[in-house]
């Protein structure tokens, strides 16, 4: 054994043993950050050299159950549940999707990875989403547009009331102001109501109504789209196959005949779907 190996085994015996096994009781993450320094901020850093990465809490079993109940049993709109617990809307939807599979497995007695789940949730920091807890994550994140990353000098008059919407326009004609990019814009109205002295309960009710309405509108729009698509198709059931006929426009292949919206094989245009060295990994699964 050389010196480096000796050092390694000595470290593993003395220090490494602290992170070898999960804590005997309760939930206590043990990362390398806590081995290196005893400060609170280092406790959740798995990479000692990277202080910009933190192991953030995940939803506990209890929290998932709570989210599932408020959507599927209480029937609250997703936006309201998201605002109530401070959980991103996409995460709320994912929790419900996963829970549906879990329930299906439970009903059909399919074996689940229970000891694994228990062990993992004892190792990572978890959030229970109790009433008094901090919001789980930011629910109104706005993606930074590339056009807004440059510094801009816009000459205006001193007296001009230059707002967010004006700033967005200055960056580009198509750049939307943050008010229109909010995932839950109904929350702005809710805060405005609160600032104007509307009773909290009333403001909350208004918010839930507005959220439910916007979700209904979205659902109606989606079902209308599906209906429209269906109306264009003619389905003929032949026992073994279902034939679907759809009207095609020849011009959709474009001027050069190579547009991706064109349908079918076109004379003189190579069809590469069986060529070697062409990436054939699917880009989406539906």
């Amino acid at each position: 054994m050389n010196r480096k190996q000796r050092d390694f085994y000595r470290w593993l015996k003395n220090v490494g043993s602290k992170v070898r096994d999960p804590p005997a009781s309760g939930n206590r993450p043990s990362y390398l950050g806590s081995v290196k320094s005893s400060s609170d901020s280092a406790a959740l850093k798995p990479f000692p050299a990277n202080d910009k990465f933190v192991s953030q809490p995940v939803l506990s079993e209890e929290a998932r159950e709570r989210i599932w109940k408020s959507v599927m049993v209480t029937g609250l709109p997703l936006k309201a549940v998201s605002a109530q617990y401070g959980v991103d809307m996409r995460r709320v939807a994912a929790v419900i999707r996963l829970k549906a599979i879990e329930n299906e497995w439970e009903a059909s007695h399919k074996p689940m990875a229970l000891p694994y789940a228990k062990a993992v949730l004892s190792m990572v920091p978890v959030a229970d989403l109790r009433q008094s807890d901090q919001p789980f994550e930011a629910i109104n994140d706005i993606p930074v547009h590339k056009y807004t990353q440059q510094q801009l000098f816009v000459p205006t008059s001193e007296s001009r009331h230059f707002t967010r919407a004006d700033a967005a326009k200055a960056f580009g004609e198509h750049i939307l102001p943050p008010d229109e990019k909010m995932r839950i814009p109904e929350l702005i109205q809710f805060e405005r109501d609160i600032a104007e002295g509307v009773k909290p309960q009333e403001a909350q009710d208004n918010f839930v109504t507005a959220a439910a309405r916007s979700e209904d509108e979205l659902a109606a729009k989606e079902s209308a789209r599906v209906e429209r698509d269906e109306a264009r198709k003619l389905r003929i059931e032949s026992g073994r196959f279902e034939f679907r006929f759809e009207k095609i426009n020849v011009d959709s292949s474009g001027k050069d005949g190579r547009s991706r919206r064109g349908v079918g094989w076109r004379y003189g245009v190579p069809f590469n779907d069986r060529r070697r060295a062409v990436v054939k990994i699917p880009t989406k699964v539906e």
Binding site: K4, Q5, F8, L12, V15, G16, R20, P22, P23, S25, P29, S30, Y31, L32, P46, F47, P48, A49, N50, K52, F53, S55, Q56, R90, A94, L98, I101, E102, P111, M112, A113, L114, P115, Y116, A117, A119, V120, M123, V124, N140, D141, I142, P143, K146, H161, R164, A165, P178, M182, I184, L187, Q189, F190, E191, A195, I281, P282, T283, V285, E286
Partner: protein, 433 residues
């Protein structure tokens, strides 16, 4: 077959941090330092940074492939508070001399967004790396193998391409058995685990006790005579059968009592006792099944216990008779008093709970991992789940919610390297100067 993995994967002399839960990797991660860049050309600095970072981020992916995936567009977000949006329209930031009014209060300093830590963000979209990040595999290479071997489904359909780039909203599932194998302690063939020895010792002791009880103090002369008679005849008589049943049940109940006693014990003792009970239930029902063909072992300790108790327990009438005979024996000073062990409802509840826990994580030598399942060593140091995934560990499924983003003070791409190293690597892939 092409040998993709380089030799000295986890080295101490020329350490490279990898995407694994290996103990050597843990050590290298602990002592990872930025390379010394003084007196080196910019090219040399970038080269080293690229080599270091690529040794971790998708080391199993060819450089050409990653080169195509690389994007200079780094995603970031800003949290806009609705409260601020409701009370301000943004014009206050241009008030005064053009940069907001001077109020005397110190202005809050915004943390910088660590964009450079997002250099390898496109890599996190890959299916194999996402499986590793969801803690379903102990290394990225193992995750890749799971995908190639057909253990991973995307949106309910089998996906065999580890290079599939997940789209926001994609749900991927891994076979739970594969996950338990990958993340559990490996099984060592013919290894006797300490608790197995303990169970054996306990069982032996129990047997000896039962025998001693049966032979020594508890057998009344008539019973002995009955047993002797049946032995000579060759078929078990009614009385002896009842006695045997009683004895078995008594041993079982004693064992169950031990479980109740150890209920609050947090050490390993509880596990040993519960497993011994399960083993006893199995043995008892096997014995009972030989006598009574209507009984059958189901492999479910909880069910078996309830069957045993209902079948073997004496009826109320018999109990009363027994109590009377006991009292008589006590009066006459006879030493053949055998108190019947019975469980209260509360005790039964505790036992049922313990058996349920035991059923979740049973001892099963047919499994490819060590049973009962335990996480592999050093897993806690690597166990984190990034926010762009939502994982359900019970069914080993996860949803890729969105692409990883940077926000003020935090970057979501799990990278062990500092901003300096990542920036140099980013500059390498920009291919400029």
């Amino acid at each position: 077959m092409k040998y993709r993995r380089i030799l000295r994967y986890h080295g101490l002399r020329r350490p490279r941090v990898r995407q694994t839960w290996n103990k050597y990797n843990l050590y290298n991660l602990m002592f990872l330092k930025d390379p010394r860049n003084t007196a080196r050309t910019f090219f040399q600095q970038k080269w080293t940074a690229k080599a270091l970072t690529r040794g971790y981020h998708g080391e199993h992916i060819k450089e050409r492939q990653w080169d195509r995936m690389f994007s200079r567009r780094l995603l970031s977000v800003v949290d806009m508070k609705p409260q601020y949006m409701a009370t301000n329209d943004g014009s206050e930031q241009a008030a005064g001399r053009g940069s907001g009014l001077i109020t005397g209060k110190p202005k809050p300093v915004n943390k910088a967004t660590p964009y450079m830590q997002m250099t390898f963000a496109p890599m996190e979209r890959r299916l194999d790396i996402a499986v590793f990040r969801a803690l379903f595999a102990s290394s990225a290479r193992q995750a890749r193998q799971m995908v190639v071997h057909g253990a991973v489904k995307v949106n309910g359909k089998k996906m065999v391409h580890p290079g599939y780039l997940l789209n926001p909203g994609d749900l991927f599932q891994v076979n739970p058995e594969r996950v338990m194998t990958a993340t559990g302690r490996p099984r060592i063939l013919n290894e006797k685990l300490p608790f197995e020895k303990k169970i054996k010792n306990l069982a032996k002791k129990n047997e000896q006790n039962a025998e001693a009880e049966a032979e020594g103090k508890n057998e009344s002369p008539e019973e002995a005579a009955v047993i002797g008679e049946t032995k000579s005849v060759g078929s078990i008589g009614e009385a002896a059968l009842k006695l045997q049943k009683q004895k078995e049940l008594r041993a079982l109940m004693l064992r169950a009592k031990e479980v109740v006693k150890a209920h609050r014990d947090m050490s390993g003792k509880k596990k040993v006792v519960v497993r011994a009970l399960v083993k006893d239930i199995k043995d008892t029902i096997n014995k009972a099944a030989k006598r009574d063909t209507s009984l059958q072992q189901t492999g479910d300790a909880l069910h078996d216990l309830s069957v045993l108790v209902s079948k073997l327990e004496l009826s109320e009438e018999e109990l009363a008779k027994k109590a009377a005979s006991d009292a008589e024996a006590a009066k006459t000073g006879s030493r053949f008093v055998q108190p019947l062990v019975r469980l209260t409802d509360a005790e039964r509840e505790i036992i049922e709970k313990e058996l349920l826990l035991e059923r979740e994580n049973p001892v099963d030598p047919s499994k490819p991992y060590a049973t009962p399942w335990q996480p592999r060593p050093y897993m806690p140091a690597f166990a984190f789940i990034p926010r762009y995934l939502e994982v359900n560990q019970k069914i080993c499924a996860a949803v890729y919610l969105r692409h990883p983003v940077a926000r003020p003070g935090l970057a979501e791409v799990p990278t062990p390297f500092s901003e300096t190293v990542n920036q140099l690597a980013f500059n390498w892939y920009l291919r400029r100067g």
